[in-house]
Amino acid sequence: MTTMKRSGLKSLVVLFLAAAIGLLASTPAHAMHISEGILPFGWCVFWFAVATPFVALALRRLKRDSGKDLAFKPLVGLMAAAVFIISCVPVPVPTAGTCSHPCGTAMSAILLGPLVSVLVATVALLIQALFLAHGGLSTLGANIASMGIVGSFSGFIVFRLLRGAGANLSVSGFFAGLIADWATYLTTSVTLALALKGTDAFLPLATKIAIAFIPTQLPLGILEGAMTAGMVVLLHKKRPDLLVKMRVIKATQGVSP
């Protein structure tokens, strides 16, 4: 019992320190979040209309699944905290001289399913918009669409496809994180280009924004991939039964990754 408590306490302290170091190591910076006022009113309404059905379905799914399994709520709590912290951490990228942040949505989508992951991202983005001057309330719909919906679904689909093709957990997790990160920023480029193009052509502007993201997001995507793979493998070691319940792995794969 004492060993168990000590081990739990150690994990708690390590996670707390990691979060505190991450958030304090550099000046708060914003990244994929589209700030208040950047999108015209019509586009804000459009992105809210896109995001709302996903959030509604996610709430229904959360209610349904949390009644089925006692471990689901703690896992949602863990992922919500992780996505919130990860999407706040400004990571300096020396090759670009800028800061940006990973998203964490691939990790939550793999472990909770893409719909609940949308909800987790929504909560994180709402808190950031309200209290951290990070993103905005009018642009919340657009930020949910890029980080929540596209990030979660792209990460989840890549993970499932790679697992289906026989890749192991760490490789699948890595590419899920990588693609989810890049897809999120690609969506931000599209969102901005659609809203700001005016009478200009859409594609050149979208390409220009996407290219501008590359020096920062290329290495960050790799970091996000490593983080996603690390979390999935760690949970597989600690709670393989949980991954079976969440249909991340099959019962027959419960012992070896």
Partner: protein, 106 residues
Amino acid sequence: MKTSGRSTLCLCAGCALLLVLLLIPAFMPLNASESGAKWQGVDESVVEKVAHEHGREIHTPLINTDQGDLLLFVFLMAGVVGGFTAGYYWKSLTEQKEVQTRTGGE
């Protein structure tokens, strides 16, 4: 016990790597971003720049915490709350497993 120790070691190694990733760039000569300011977020160097070029400017947030050291305080609080929440649920998940293993239940 052995597995638990190894996992803690892995977590510590991960945190150390994260710390190194965060600190190394501070001592490296950098290719500064086009705008010249060091370590700007890509929202400033990309999103706001493009928005400005197309006639859109950012508005003050509803609750403006981006004033002086207030933002650092809010970020610290976010780290404390987020870190403890993640730690609490991680502990709760791993303890559930240990209880299941000891009782032989599902």
